[in-house]
Amino acid sequence: MAEAVIRDDTAQDLPTNRARRSRRQYAAPPFLSIWAVIGGAAVIVLIGAYPYYGSSAYVLSLLGKFLCFAIFALSIDLIWGFAGILSLGQAVYFGIGAYVVALSLKLNYALDHPTRYGGKIPDFMEWNSLTAVPDWMMPLYSYSVAITIALIFPTILAFLFGVITFKRHIYGVYCAVITLAESLILQEFIIEYQGYTGGFNGITDYSNYATPGFLWFILFLVVVFFIVARALTHSRVGTVLKSIRDNDVRAEFMGYNVANYRIFVFCVSAFMAAAAGALYAAWVGIISFLDAGPVFSIEGVIWTAVGGRGTLIGPFVGAFLVKGAEFFLSGALAQWWQIIVGGLFIFVVLVLRDGIVGSIGNWLRARKKKATLHQVVEESDRKAHDLQREWRPAGEPETDGSI
């Protein structure tokens, strides 16, 4: 096997000058552009400092919520935008993370706040005629154990799901339908086993952490997850994932085990969604079966689509815009809101295919390209003018440069 493809005899007749120039011109995009860092820092400070300049507790609680939703949307973007896996059940991982943390908080809360009948168990257990916390739930008294389970269990579940579907080449629409069913099953499960999950009422009344300090903690994790996602999509593995998204058959015949890559990114995404759920449960202090259901999953997909899938800022923009609009408009347009969101989704799919952020990016790139095209025309113009000067008969007046 020869190491170099180009032997000397072939290299000679190549347009090497042109190639050298393009070698210089082509540079990989930076890990984070300076403007992204400045803009990101400004937004983080603006959100994190809200408790010091703003007074509305409502807005504060919304900010924390939206940040959790943004991480959730980022997890969807990672599999949908970068690996082409459309999951309509991402809320399964969000929901499990949220429920485990909420249960843990509720159990500890019940120790200090006995129910009406003096029991030191969560009230919903008592309503369902349980007299003691079941043994298998005991480890959840420890916060560290609960957080570990909240993060690891959904990841393992995602791994098993990936092995079952991706290894069998189940992909695309079929995968979307299976994930949708998955989240329906979890929702039914939560409602059915209400003695352990609170059923329809969800888990409420526990000490949550809606403090400015916790907001900074959420912001910190947002930054961490953003950087992880950026590192992942910016590295070789990210390029491979994108190539699998574009053409999985070609990638397979190029020696990539497509299923393993899909499982990998699906697990990372589930971990992120679970972390978002855990933060959410700790922040808002109420969790219900809806947070694990298909509607919430699809909402996440809509945020990602509106913001711009395949971009990392898109999910944040989408979650804040759509969810923000919902909180401020749904009071006035309560019965119309679902229809408006649905219409927005259709609009984005039909007109703004790359979402808000993606479309802005396309526009900027197109503008840049136009500029370089302009330079090329100018350069060739000048060259032609120089040539003209060479063969111009002596005594002829020079033109002004235009041809």
Binding site: V5, S22, A28, S235, R236, S243, M254
Partner: protein
């Protein structure tokens, strides 16, 4: 020269139709072999069998001394076989540069690719290949902005990047202009100096231009094999495939 690829009594049946019938076929190392045959002769099926897209009904495929029958496509790639599809098949939204980068010979496992950095040798090799297939000045363009001919060449570049022992080219000149076809044939001749190539081709001009050993398939069976002049003058071949003196 030892046989690089050896196919023994390969039979493929799909829902009752026999596509390949007891086919024996082999390629020597460093050979450039042209595979001819009318539509439905089983040329593309043969390539799909070799690359593991489909499993044969019976028979065996040996490559570089190993039995690769029934292996998964990515394992067969690891063994050293790369395939060019009939329709250009690449990663549409990736840049031309990234298309080559993803195809570079190297580790393919998930964990290995997470921390893999592009070395300067790899970068040079990518540029060498881009220059070889004359796409260096389009390195940063997304692949879906390329013209059809350029896409065919990009895929050839991707195959070269993977540095295979055996290259399977399934009609790489489909949909090209005459000039493009001629240049592609030249490119293939250059590639064949380093790699073993199995070329499926319809166009007799290109077959003549390349002019090496030819294998003719007909209805899933081996019809003739030999140097170009011999095969062209074979009566059976002319009757089933070339027509009555059409190419003389």
């Amino acid at each position: 020269m030892p046989d690089l690829l050896e196919i023994k009594s390969l039979t493929t049946r799909v829902s009752g139709f026999t596509i390949l019938n007891n086919l024996d076929f082999s390629i020597e190392e460093n050979e450039l072999r042209v595979l001819l045959g009318p539509n439905g002769a089983g040329k593309t099926t043969l390539i799909s069998m070799i690359t593991g897209q489909f499993r044969p009904t019976s028979g065996s495929i040996h490559f570089a001394g190993r039995d690769i029958t029934g292996w998964a496509p990515d394992d067969i790639f690891q063994a050293g076989i790369s395939r060019k599809f009939q329709v250009p098949n690449m990663y549409e939204t990736l840049s031309v540069f990234d298309n080559i980068m993803v195809s570079l010979q190297g580790r393919r496992r998930v964990l290995a690719t997470i921390f893999q950095k592009l070395t300067s040798e790899e970068r040079d090799r990518i540029w060498d290949i881009l220059e070889f297939v004359e796409l260096a000045n389009k390195a940063s363009d997304p692949a879906d902005t390329l013209s059809h001919g350029e896409r065919q060449w990009l895929e050839l570049g991707m195959l070269i990047a993977s540095n295979p022992k055996l290259l399977l080219l399934d009609e790489p000149t489909t949909g090209m202009t005459e000039e493009g076809k001629y240049k592609t044939a030249e490119l293939i001749t250059k590639i064949a100096k380093i790699h073993t190539v199995l070329l499926v081709e319809h166009d007799m001009h290109i077959v003549r231009q390349i002019g090496k050993r030819i294998t003719v398939l007909h209805q899933g069976q081996l019809l003739a094999e030999g140097p170009i002049s011999e095969v062209m003058n074979n009566e059976t071949v002319r009757r089933v495939y070339l027509g009555k003196g059409k190419f003389q």
